[in-house]
């Protein structure tokens, strides 16, 4: 699997040279900052009213009032932005004809895919790392639950990885970036909302749909509980879509 580093470097150079990364980053951080700030004000408001209310008391912590809803919102914001990060990865190579060049390098398909995936993941991790400023800015003011925060970030990383793998697969299906983005968005939304079937009472199948839902598996991690089932699901999801992408790339060799 040599050459992954080279692919990662090349992709990162492109990310940081084009406006997409900065635009995505700006939107992500603006929305993240807004929701963090709004949650914080709401928490402070409720603190005045609710310190005596025992029903509310259990919820009146920074984790429950600020970070748990924030993680949920960041995940949704990211759902909208993933297609923008991944749409270019393979579609652009095909459209501009550099794909042929890339495939003639002494690189395996696996290395190319893994390199591109890791580059997108690094970009995402960079954005996520910037949001660590939120808890750090609160740390001098109030006591934070660092364990739960770590679990929430682990959840965002796994969820992000799953979304990026799906986006990369969508990008491998077409040579048009717009189509790649639309496909990625549609797939993501489907896997996001599929769990609602259970709420609507789809008897029998509800459990299966919930098991496939990206959102359903995120809940535990956002509230500070690391469950092996959720971690295994995300890792399987990532592996499966990277594997599908590899099959899709290989198919150029035998498709008529």
């Amino acid at each position: 699997m040599s050459g992954i580093g080279a692919v990662v470097r090349k992709e990162l150079t492109i990310y940081f040279a084009t406006p997409i990364f900065y635009l995505v980053g700006f939107c992500f951080l603006l929305l993240g900052g807004y929701f963090f700030y709004a949650n914080l004000l709401y928490y402070s408001l409720l603190s005045f009213q609710g310190a005596q209310n025992p029903q509310l008391a259990a919820l009146l912590t920074p984790q429950q009032m600020v970070f748990r809803p924030l993680f949920g919102t960041l995940a949704i914001v990211f759902l909208f932005l993933v297609p923008l990060i991944t749409m270019r990865l393979l579609a652009e190579e095909k459209r501009s004809g550099t794909a042929e060049l890339l495939f003639t390098y002494p690189l395996t398909d696996g290395a190319i895919i893994l390199g591109k995936f890791l580059a997108a993941l690094l970009v995402y991790l960079l954005l996520l790392a910037i949001t660590v400023i939120y808890p750090l800015s609160l740390a001098p003011i109030t006591r934070l639950d660092w364990g739960a925060l770590a679990s929430g970030y682990l959840g965002l990383i796994l969820l992000g990885g799953a979304c990026l793998a799906l986006g990369l697969f969508a990008s491998s299906l077409t040579e048009n970036q717009i189509i790649a983005a639309v496909l990625a968005f549609a797939f993501l939304l489907l896997f996001w909302l599929i769990g609602w079937q259970q709420e609507l009472g789809a008897a029998g199948w509800g459990g299966l749909f919930a098991a496939l839902s990206l959102l359903e598996h995120f809940e535990n991690l956002a509230r500070g509980v690391v469950d092996t089932r959720d971690v295994v699901f995300y890792l399987s999801f990532i592996y499966f879509f990277l594997f599908l992408t590899q099959r899709q790339l290989e198919s150029r060799r035998w498709r008529a």
Binding site: P19, G33, S137, W254
Partner: protein, 478 residues
């Protein structure tokens, strides 16, 4: 092209192989996820394990060895539903026999009616052919309902009345309503008992509590108490300073000495807790099952009296449960409260530590006279019941268990552990978690401005500036 050739074109062969590979990988991943579902692992990273069940509930769930189904009645889309789901998931995770489901009472009214649904949030527990409804879908209510299911016979705790004792229905600071509710959540039935009216202690009394009487008990009542202990009864007495309730001789008979003192204390720990000089604290505990888990924990005893302990009495083995600190001292006489002369006087005052709570184990007398032997032969079962070890727990304070102090530090745990021990509820003697401490946040206007600037202006702005810089650099290179 012949059909055979068409079937074996390159596309079909490779495409089929690829599809088979995808199907195989998918199948393997499904199996891995099913295995992960069957052998789950779970790590609660939150502070104080706030997303997990308490030790009390976990101990309770250990006894569930047949399928237990939980049916929660929630209308769809209700906000509390998610929180209820998390609690139910915790139950299901703790014991594989537990399963849960949600029923919308509007969509399935027949199911709801059949289950005795009353209001949204009800949870029906079904176990071993029995059923029990929990009012709310939170851990306390579910554990309480489960306890009733597992143990249909509830033990009874009586609180003595008629002498100005603290009331178990009083919601004010000095009342015992919190203690009563906590006992009910531990599965006890709690009732009041007026000995003058009843004349005897009911046979179903697991524990009798005397909580801070303001007047003395009558001699016939004390005789009833003696008889109760003689038959292996369990008595918890919480006595205020300067009020013996006529129990001085009674207590002395079991090796507990009551004097007219008040414990005062002034040290760094109590100062840090905001306790005043009349609020001695205990940081040292006796070597007993009740206080086994009490390491590095503090209990507060506002206005407490010290208790003497004589250890030379045959048949009565006493030991201290909670001790005041080395820095505490004792003032004798009721006048001290009026004069508010708290300072330590080496000539007159005694230096601590003192016993703030003691436990006396009373071995049944081994009578071997003929009459007893004859009785034993006639009714061996009754004899066995009479041969039960009696326990007398005495606290030199009642305020520690009142509404105002019950949830402070470990006070509630000390009280509950003592009652659970006296009632022989071994499994419930542990430290309960205090998770529902609100953490209110008040921001100064400067902090609000600062956070606004940092999160909404500076961070996104920096990203925008970096973007513009990258764009300009790129244009310059062209």
């Amino acid at each position: 092209m012949a059909l055979r050739d068409r079937l074996f074109t390159r596309t079909v062969v490779y495409g089929g192989g690829s599809a088979a590979a995808v199907a195989l990988v998918l199948a393997i991943l499904v199996v891995i996820n099913l295995l992960a579902g069957r052998y789950p692992g779970r790590l609660d990273l939150t502070q104080g394990k706030s997303q997990s069940l308490t030790a009390v509930t976990l101990a309770l769930l250990k006894d569930v060895d047949k399928p237990l189904t939980l049916t929660a009645f929630f209308p769809e889309g209700q906000g509390d539903r998610q929180r209820a789901r998390e609690v139910l998931q915790n139950f299901a995770y703790a014991n594989s026999q537990v399963s849960f489901s949600f029923v919308d009472p509007d969509r399935q009214p027949h199911k709801a009616r059949e289950a005795g649904f009353r209001f949204p949030g009800n949870v029906l527990l079904e176990y071993d052919g029995r059923r029990q409804m929990a009012d709310r879908a939170d851990e306390e209510a579910l554990a309480e309902a489960l306890r009733r299911l597992l143990r249909p016979q509830q033990k009874k705790v009586y609180f003595l009345t008629g002498h100005g004792e603290r009331s178990i229905e009083d919601p004010k600071r000095e009342g015992l309503l919190t203690a009563k509710r906590a006992l009910e959540n531990e599965g006890f039935l709690v009732a009041e008992l007026n000995l003058l009216k009843e004349g005897k202690i009911p046979p179903d009394a697991s524990v009798l509590v005397i909580a801070g009487p303001a007047k003395s008990l009558f001699p016939q009542e004390i005789a009833v108490l003696k008889e109760f202990l003689g038959k292996g009864g369990r008595l918890l007495a919480m006595l205020e300073p300067f009020q013996d309730a006529g129990l001085k001789d009674f207590m002395a008979g079991y090796g507990v000495e009551l004097n007219d003192g008040l414990v005062l204390d002034h040290n760094q720990v109590s100062q840090a807790l905001g306790a005043s000089v009349v609020m001695p604290i205990a940081v040292k505990y006796g070597p007993h099952r009740i206080t086994r888990d009490f390491t590095n924990v503090v209990t507060l005893f506002p206005l407490a009296r010290p208790l003497g302990l004589r250890r030379d009495l045959p048949g009565a083995a006493g030991l201290p449960l909670a001790l005041s600190t080395q820095t505490s001292w004792e003032k004798i006489g009721r006048e001290v409260l009026k004069k508010e002369d708290w300072d330590f006087n080496p000539q007159k005052d005694r230096q601590g530590p003192f016993n703030l709570a003691v436990l006396v184990e009373l071995k049944p007398p081994e009578r071997k006279d003929e009459a007893a032997e004859a009785q034993e032969k006639a009714a061996p079962k009754e004899k066995k019941a009479e041969g039960k070890t009696a326990y007398l727990a005495v606290f030199g304070d009642v305020d520690f268990a009142t509404n105002g102090y019950f949830n402070l530090s470990m006070n509630g745990d000390l009280f509950l552990n003592t009652v659970n021990f006296l009632a022989e509820e071994e499994k419930q003697i542990l430290i309960r978690r205090d998770e529902k401490k609100p953490q209110p946040l008040s921001l100064t206007s400067w902090q609000i401005y600062g956070l606004f600037f940092l999160t909404l202006i500076f961070i996104p702005g920096a990203m925008l500036v970096a973007g513009v810089a990258a764009y300009v650099r790129r244009r310059a290179r062209r």
